[in-house]
């Protein structure tokens, strides 16, 4: 795309992109560490994750301030307008991802026994997928790659499917042994947080699509999360 007649406008837009890249890097880092902390019951790491969330929040505020100033000052049109609106939206998704990572870290502090092995493995696998998705979507944003964004958008259903199985497994633990309810509830929320991070990632993918094409994706995203309609029944003994 051609450069602006007013070159400062280009610099201001580049600044927004840089802030998104920074926020994205931090969100990835925070999310990865929060899972590591939960999986290894590492309280010290969890504390660090909780303390570091503030950084993402401040970047989001900074981006928002710059974006508002840009709109007021430059009265952007077409692709420029989309770039600014999309930067605001993506930054808010990244900020939420930061919050969810922080919440996972907090649950580490609440769970004081080792996680059941298969649950741990399931959640790790979920997190791995979600991290990969997040990293891919940030890459798609940096390179304006609509195909890659599309890939992320479609692949979210894998996380949903894993969340289903972790959810069912935690239910059986709780039904078998009521003493695990406390821990399992925290883990359930933890798994839900990972699933939500996946959803924010697909939001970002949709925004990249809008940024590049100017249109909204048509149709429904494939969804596999059936937990909200799964009945909880006592085990037949």
């Amino acid at each position: 795309m051609n450069t602006h007649i007013v070159s400062a406008f280009d610099e201001e837009l580049a600044e927004l992109r840089k802030l998104i890249a920074q926020m994205g890097g931090l969100a990835e880092d925070q999310f990865g560490k929060s899972i590591e902390a939960l999986s290894r019951s590492d309280r010290e790491l969890a504390e660090r994750v909780i303390a570091a969330d503030d950084k993402i929040d401040r970047l989001e505020k900074d981006l928002e301030k710059r974006a508002i100033k840009l709109i007021a000052k430059r009265q952007p049109m077409a692709a420029d307008l989309r770039a600014i609106i999309v930067a605001i939206r993506i930054s808010s998704d990244l900020e939420r991802i930061g919050d969810l990572a922080k919440n996972i870290a907090k649950r580490t502090l609440a769970v004081d026994e080792p996680l059941p092995r298969s649950v741990n493995a399931g959640m790790n696998r979920m997190a791995e997928l979600a991290l990969e998705q997040l990293s891919d979507v940030l890459d798609a944003y940096a390179r304006l790659d609509v195909d890659k964004a599309q890939d992320v958008w479609v692949k979210d259903s894998r996380i949903d499917a894993l969340y289903n199985s972790v959810f069912r497994e935690l239910l059986t633990y709780m039904m078998e042994d009521a003493r695990t309810i406390g821990m399992c509830t925290h883990l359930l929320f933890g798994a839900k947080n990972i699933e939500r991070i996946g959803d924010h990632t697909t939001n970002i993918a949709e925004n990249i699509h809008y940024l590049i094409t100017g249109g909204a994706p048509k149709g429904e995203r494939p969804k596999e999360d059936a937990t909200s309609v799964t009945p909880v029944q006592p085990l037949a003994k």
């Binding site: 051609n2 049109m77 307008l81 692949k155 259903s157 249109g215 494939p222």
Partner: protein, 278 residues
């Protein structure tokens, strides 16, 4: 799990801008042009141009200086007839009637197609006479009462009446710039036009006077076909429903205003409205 993904080949399908502007489905076309060209002597100012302009809506012509938008606007009420070297080709119809038909009365045409210019140009007469002039020469008023009614109604529709009702006999040139422009709009609507052409009507006005004119344009579109040439992209975005982008004498792109300013299809339109080097 992967099989489930493969079963649903959900692609991002983009909902793109339709080829025909949505506004044309809601309004009947008022002005239709086919292959319109304009030459000034040897120089071609407009290359064959086809456009449909909707009734009861505001259409904005945008484009860099010298792109032909004003030249084209002037074809619609045959203002180019007054320039000896200008030649207009092709066909322009209003309500299906060819306005370049030799049998057509140009004076009648200009009553049907009113024009408002960049700089307010009231006659050096009283406010009342500025507006009464047209109805008088066209014989629209049978008596003084009729004439007064036309003047008052036109001033009211132009949103100027309250400000000038106590000084209708004072000169129109004594009004502020924004008031003078609204006086010119009142003068244009006094002769009951169908179409109002506006050539950068706010470029000589301050932001408050501009806002008043824009508000007025928005009210007038219920009853008129309005075409506005403007250099302000924001103004085009605010007041119009259809936007046409001109460049180097050609119509590059025409579409619903909303689509034109959020997602124009043509590269040249994008560059122009975003203020990028073309």
């Amino acid at each position: 799990m992967d099989a489930a993904v493969a079963e649903k080949p959900a692609r991002f399908e983009t909902v793109m801008t339709p080829a025909e502007p949505a506004i044309m489905k809601e309004r009947k076309p008022k002005i239709v042009t086919e292959g319109v060209t304009v030459h000034y002597g040897d120089k071609q100012a407009i290359y064959p141009l086809d456009i449909k302009i909707p009734d009861r809506a505001v259409s904005a012509f945008i484009g860099p200086s010298g792109c032909g938008k004003s030249t084209f606007l002037r074809c619609i009420n045959r203002m180019n007839d007054t320039i000896p070297t200008a030649r207009v080709g092709g066909r322009i119809t209003i309500d299906g009637e060819d306005i370049y038909d030799p049998a057509l009365d140009v004076v009648q045409l200009r009553a049907r197609v009113g024009m408002v210019f960049q700089k307010p140009n009231p006659f050096p007469k009283s406010i009342f006479d500025n507006i009464a002039y047209g109805p008088r020469i066209h014989g629209f008023a049978r008596n003084r009462t009729d004439l007064e009614e036309i003047v008052v109604n036109s001033l009211k529709r132009a949103g100027l009446f309250e400000e000038v009702k106590d000084r209708l006999e004072s000169p129109g040139t004594g009004l502020s710039g924004g008031q003078q422009q609204r006086l010119c709009i009142a003068r244009a609507i006094a002769v009951n036009p169908d179409v109002i052409l506006m050539d950068e009507p706010c470029s000589a006005l301050d932001p408050i006077a501009t806002a008043r004119i824009e508000e007025l344009i928005d009210e007038l579109r219920e009853n008129y076909c309005i075409v506005i040439v403007t250099h302000s992209m924001q103004q085009a975005a605010r007041v119009s429903q259809l936007t046409a982008f001109f460049h180097l004498g050609t119509l590059v792109e025409v579409g619903d205003t909303e689509a034109m300013f959020t997602n124009p299809q043509e590269r040249r339109t994008q560059d122009y409205i975003m203020g990028r080097f073309g």
